[in-house]
Subunit: 195 residues, 2 copies
């Protein structure tokens, strides 16, 4: 009954993570009924980002240039390499203003249930990057959930085997929080890592 172009749109919207048949239908109806300008903008943004955005040769983040602006910044400390899961994490670290080294962006994390293995997170590219002779310390800043910790563990082992110094962002009580409401695992880590 539905138009083939409408069916194709609903089907194509399902390529978005977390969008099933019902959501895709709702999105398609919304765009066609209320926001054709937004749909056109999205169509163009998708097309141009696919054509323009590749990966930085050095840090693997999304970049239209062969090497991204952060990697090209010579004022940054070339001996420190911070490993993050995504450009969003990198942006969060940058906003703190407390780190002036370089980054490596995994663009993923180990997630066996989703079929994401060691090959999919650019481990070999990271090992090659870290072996440039300048990097003396690799700081693992993957997320502190199960998948991020597993990713940090695997990466850390591989880097240590190659004789590199590997550190991990400190775990502890978040600034501004009350102990009563902090989970037990965090408090246990804060005890172990007390200084």
């Amino acid at each position: 009954m539905a138009d083939p172009a409408l069916e194709a749109l609903i089907d194509a919207l399902r390529c978005l993570p977390g969008v099933g048949q019902k959501s895709a239908q709702r999105m398609a109806f919304h765009l066609l009924q209320h926001d054709r300008a937004g749909a056109l903008k999205l169509s163009q943004a998708l097309a141009s980002s696919i054509h323009e955005i590749g990966h930085c040769e050095r840090c693997n983040t999304f970049s239209r240039d062969p090497v991204c602006s952060v990697c090209l910044d010579e004022t940054r400390d070339q001996t420190l390499l911070c490993v993050v899961e995504s450009p969003a994490d990198q942006a969060a670290l940058e906003r703190t203003g407390s780190y002036r080294g370089l980054y490596f962006v995994l663009l993923g994390r180990l997630s066996p249930l989703d079929g994401v293995g060691v090959r999919d997170i650019g481990l070999s590219a990271l090992l090659q990057r870290a072996a440039d002779g300048l990097v003396s310390e690799v700081i693992l800043a993957t997320n502190f959930n199960v998948e991020g910790e597993a990713t940090a563990h695997v990466i850390g082992e591989a880097l240590r085997q190659r004789g590199l110094k590997v550190t991990r962002l400190a775990r502890g009580v978040p600034v501004g929080s009350e102990l009563e409401y902090v989970d037990l695992g965090t408090i246990a880590h804060a005890f172990m890592d007390r200084r």
Copy 2:
């Protein structure tokens, strides 16, 4: 720090209903990292559906032809007009095989909180459609939630004022359900409408 094309993509994804900054970011990263083919397909599906899909002149549903195939079907009962909120609802009714009349698709429902008023749901188009001299009964099949009921009420009043017979899909206990688990409002309606 992020590429302008990437920023534009994240921004454009936010035109989708229910997608905020975080989800848009996740979607953009996913598409660029894991599914460029899907992103290209989505870009093309958006562009072609905007260009190809308009509205049926008679029933207001999405259609690439001036009049959709359902409205053109002369074997359908031209005296019955069923009002639904969306093509998805129409498809659900069609699947039952229990209705052979025509449809009018509102493509929306009254929702004052979202700024959707009487003008936005095509009420005047419906009144014009129902006054074709053939329609003798309008069946209101908007959803049975608060917004759908309000929509049915407003539409029903307007149609009755023009001397049309207006009916509503029966409320009652769903087939296959156990009374113990049916909500009280439904049971109360089932008592009132017993037959």
